[in-house]
């Protein structure tokens, strides 16, 4: 059906075909939704705002509100300062958020609007905040935009009230689902450490249906909490692409020690996350977490023969793919193609190092790639399993490969934003999805005489 991709080597030196990323403003919008009482604002034409809301909407299946500077030709010629000032006035008058988080677009960046100055001279009601990040769409990806908005939270809001630190930690969770953020909180609560997590979209994009609509749901890190993040002892920054920069800024600005970690996906990364908390605060690891870990190991052994040695292609956002690749290697799976759309040499280096340590050679690893390229690789030498976002479904169908949906966006399946892939519970979910995808494929394809009840 979708066998449009030509066979054999073809010229593909520029542009993207079937992209594996989207643009910065979307990530900035998602991060901003993780602040309590925040209205994200897109400084550009209406289309960007509408599209990003729609994209988030389709993934989370919850309302996503954001305002726009509604650029028209006039603003594009004379600059968008007047539009932004009017927007700030209107947003507080009409929607009355606690905080407005402005991100730019390629249009306002190309015009060269000077956001810090516009915001400084705008009328902002007493007690309300406006923060901003520059997110030109022609640079980076949605992950870069997410990272930028996290940095803006820190540089605008966080403050150290003195040199003594409170016995609390910050967690910057990265571009993960609300279900993941909820799980991170559960783990930290179990460890008994006080945590400020920002952004936090749990209770914002996974809200219950009560037949009452709250424009600003109960969840999200409050402005006061993000301010207080400057008084924490330590920041755990989960994911080098989405979170490390903000932790660094916080360290420079407020002297909060930043500890860079992977996203806690897979056993080792979850261990590292928990050990980092334990080591810093000297807490005991409760028996309940030890038990959870033991269950993961037990399940791995119960299922290892389903997937060991399988060739897999993985694509998605860099922090997700890095952590997942580590877990796949631990499971004995062979990542033969590993790709992200986000630019970054560090991605390639980190994956290559992991593969090398595992003694795997000949895998293709690429940052700044697209799905055209991934499909060409799969055509050249097939894989047993594909793991990635919904956009992988075209490849899965055309090349007849079992497919596990993972990351952002997932537009064709429900419930996933509520189900964590982080932590030990996340490990169980991944093991289940991977094993089942392979077994479904076996049940579908095998001869009658090989069709087994017990697998």
């Amino acid at each position: 059906m979708l066998e449009c991709i030509p066979e054999g080597p073809v010229e593909h030196t520029t542009g993207k075909i079937n992209p594996a990323k989207t643009c910065q403003p979307l990530g900035a919008m998602y991060a901003a939704l993780g602040i309590h009482g925040c209205l994200p604002h897109s400084h550009g034409s209406q289309g960007c705002c509408a599209y990003h809301r729609m994209h988030l909407n389709r993934h989370f299946r919850d309302p996503v509100l954001a305002s726009s500077s509604s650029f028209t030709e006039g603003a594009s010629v004379f600059g968008g300062a007047a539009n932004l000032k009017t927007s700030i006035k209107n947003v507080f008058a009409i929607y009355n958020p606690e905080i407005m988080a402005v991100h730019t677009t390629c249009l306002s960046e190309t015009i060269g609007d000077d956001l810090p100055n516009i915001i400084k001279t705008a009328e902002i009601p007493e007690g309300k905040s406006v923060i901003h990040v520059n997110t030109p769409s022609y640079h980076g990806s949605h992950i870069t935009g997410f990272s930028g908005m996290c940095k803006a939270m820190v540089s605008y809001l966080a403050q150290a009230d003195g040199t003594t630190k409170k016995s609390q930690m910050n967690v910057i969770p990265g571009f993960v689902n609300p279900g993941d953020m909820r799980e991170i909180r559960r783990i930290v609560d179990t460890l008994g450490v006080k945590m400020i997590m920002f952004p936090d979209t749990s209770n914002v994009l996974d809200t219950p249906l009560t037949s009452k609509y709250q424009m600003y749901p109960d969840g999200g890190a409050t402005v006061a909490e993000i301010r207080d993040a400057g008084n924490s002892e330590v920041t755990l920054a989960l994911g080098s692409f989405a979170s490390h920069d903000a932790a660094e800024v916080l360290q420079d600005k407020c002297g909060v020690t930043g500890i860079p970690l992977k996203l806690p996906i897979g056993i080792k990364a979850t261990d590292d996350f928990i050990m980092a908390v334990k080591d810093w605060f000297g807490v005991e690891i409760p028996a309940s977490l030890t038990l959870e870990r033991g269950q993961v190991v037990d399940t791995l052994i119960d299922t290892h023969f389903h997937y060991q040695g399988k060739r897999v292609a993985v694509f998605g956002d860099p922090d997700h793919v890095i952590a997942l690749t580590e877990f796949l290697l631990a499971m004995g799976i062979v990542p033969v193609y590993v790709l992200t759309g986000t630019p970054g040499k560090a991605f390639e280096a980190e994956i290559r190092k992991m593969l090398e340590d595992a003694g795997i050679t000949g895998s293709k690893v690429k940052a700044k790639g697209d799905l055209f390229e991934l499909q060409q690789w799969i055509k050249e030498a097939p894989v047993d399993l594909l793991i990635g976002t919904s956009y992988g479904k075209y490849i899965a169908r055309a090349e007849d490969v079992p497919f596990v949906r993972f990351g952002f966006p997932i537009l064709d399946r429900a419930v996933h934003p509520l189900m964590p892939v982080v932590g030990y519970r996340g490990c169980l979910r991944l093991i289940e999805q991977i094993s089942n995808a392979l077994l479904e494929c076996r049940d579908r394809d095998c001869l009658d005489e090989d069709f087994e009840l017990v697998l």
Binding site: L2, C4, V10, E11, H12, T13, T14, G15, K16, I17, P19, T22, C23, Q24, L26, H41, G44, S45, Q46, G47, C48, A50, Y51, H52, R61, D62, P63, L65, S67, S68, S69, S70, T72, E73, S76, A82, L84, T86, S87, I88, K89, N90, I94, Y95, C106, L107, T110, P136, S137, Y138, S141, T207, L209, T210, S211, K212, Y213, M215, G341, Y394
Partner: protein
């Protein structure tokens, strides 16, 4: 219907927007709908690029190349439910992925290279090149690049001038798409397309196979569709468009201009049709048969209508029993769709208490008012706060709208039926009327709502 408590003019929303909201039978003034959205408002509107993209993307065997940063391509990648009976080319996403360097030094060279590579890889019969905010802003001359590429490759490379900032109104983008289509179908010098007795079907996007449904009816009464604009169309078929003896126009917002242009250039008359709802479908088929004026065709048309109505009316009657008296709201892209849904919901015995569109024109709103009972709210370019306010005040049971309204309706405990350009189920024709009724029934009467009893207003 008591709606005296609602005075939309005094709504708690944005004072500058009071002229964008009317109550039928109450408001003296007419609606303001050509206004640009207010800076800082949470609008459901999109941009010119979006309008152009939804009209052109269903051309199945063309390559659609977005000249801009990646987001414009990613966010419009295969989001329409337009089906193809042949090529799947249109479901790939091509982007020049403009970078900072391109913004500074211009993106024309990169665009030309991308076109060359697409031709080399796929040899598509045509490439549509969409301009975006940035490529428009920095002044990339996509017309010149496309012209040169057309000559270089002896293939149609058609520019679509759809820079987002030109307007927040998708209709401007429909026009950009229409201009591109006219350029594509214009016969080359020395070429002519012979007239046939076939017809073109404008404003039909083959969502969920809707074009195929109508095609079956027309075939039965003795007419072939020449080509649809643009559902399940190919470049070659579009080029035969001048050969039709009649143009049907369905989605007025996007296609009236094309119909008028085709009339001017090729002398083809056009008819407005509407295949949403059983009554509309019957009426449209009769109109077409009248146009041809052949007794055999008229006889076959009546036979078809009688047979189909007899088949579906008992089913509709069942849904009517469940749905009669329920209160419905409509918020869709254009007025054509709003009218179509009003008719269908009325056929199901439902009350329409709120209607709005993103891009309706003044005459269209005037027409809407005549279809609606006094007290119905009419709203242009609604923001979610306004929608929420009226949905609750009007005690709505079910809403018809697009992707952004779905989750809002659900959160308020209101059923939702998708009637936007990204829906997946065909709602056209007699079977479409049944499917629509079923969808309205499923969402309005799902047992899940009773789970809300503890807290919800549906208790």
């Amino acid at each position: 219907m008591d709606t005296s408590s609602v005075t939309a003019e005094g709504s708690a929303c944005i004072s500058e927007r009071q002229n964008s909201i009317l109550t039928t039978g109450k408001s003296k003034s007419s609606i303001h709908c050509a206004d640009d959205s207010l800076a800082g408002s949470v609008s459901q509107r999109a941009c010119v690029f979006c309008g152009a993209r939804v009209v052109l993307n269903p051309v199945t065997d063309a390559a659609h190349l977005v000249h801009g940063p990646i987001g414009c391509a990613t966010c419009t990648w295969d989001i329409r439910g337009s089906l193809s009976s042949g090529s799947e080319m249109y479901r790939n996403s091509f982007s020049t992925d403009m970078k900072e360097r391109d913004v500074v030094f211009g993106g024309e060279k990169k665009l030309a290279t991308c076109i060359d590579e697409i031709v080399g890889k796929y040899h598509p019969p045509a490439i549509f090149v969409y301009s975006t905010c940035v490529s428009g802003m920095i002044g990339d001359d996509i017309i010149a690049v496309c012209k040169a590429a057309s000559e270089r490759h002896a293939t149609d490379v058609i520019p679509v001038e759809s820079s987002g900032f030109l307007s927040g109104n998708k209709v401007v983008g429909y026009r950009a798409a229409a201009i591109a289509l006219m350029q594509l179908i214009k016969p080359k010098v020395g070429e002519t397309v012979e007239k046939t007795r076939k017809l073109n079907f404008l404003g039909e996007y083959n969502l969920g196979g809707e074009k195929w449904v109508v095609e079956r009816y027309l075939r039965e009464i003795g007419i072939e569709i020449n080509v649809a604009f643009t559902g399940d169309s190919t470049v070659a078929a579009l080029k035969q468009a001048p050969g039709a003896c009649l143009n049907l126009v369905q989605c007025t917002g996007s296609m009236h201009w094309v119909a008028m242009s085709l009339e001017q250039e090729f002398g083809t008359p056009y008819l407005d049709v509407n295949f949403f709802g059983a009554e509309n479908t019957a009426g449209s088929l009769r109109k077409i048969a009248q146009f041809y004026g052949e007794p055999e065709m008229i006889r076959r048309t009546e036979a078809l209508i009688e047979r189909e109505q007899a088949r579906i009316q008992p089913v509709l009657q069942k849904y009517r029993k469940k749905l009669a008296g329920k209160r419905a709201a409509i918020y869709v892209g254009g007025a054509f769709k709003a009218v179509a849904i009003i008719h269908q919901l009325k056929e199901l015995g439902m009350e329409i208490v709120l209607t709005g569109t993103q891009t309706g024109k003044k005459e269209e709103y005037d027409n809407l008012s005549t279809l609606l009972d006094p007290g119905t709210i009419i709203i242009d370019d609604a923001n979610p706060a306004e929608l929420e306010k009226f949905l609750l005040e009007k005690n709505v049971d079910v809403m018809a709208g697009g992707v952004k309204e779905r989750v809002l309706a659900y959160k308020l405990g209101i059923g939702f039926v998708d009637h936007n350009h990204d829906r997946k189920d065909g709602l056209a024709g007699f079977d479409g009327a049944v499917r629509f009724a079923r969808e309205v029934y499923v969402t309005t009467c799902t047992p899940v709502w009773s789970q809300l009893k503890a807290t919800g207003r549906r208790a």
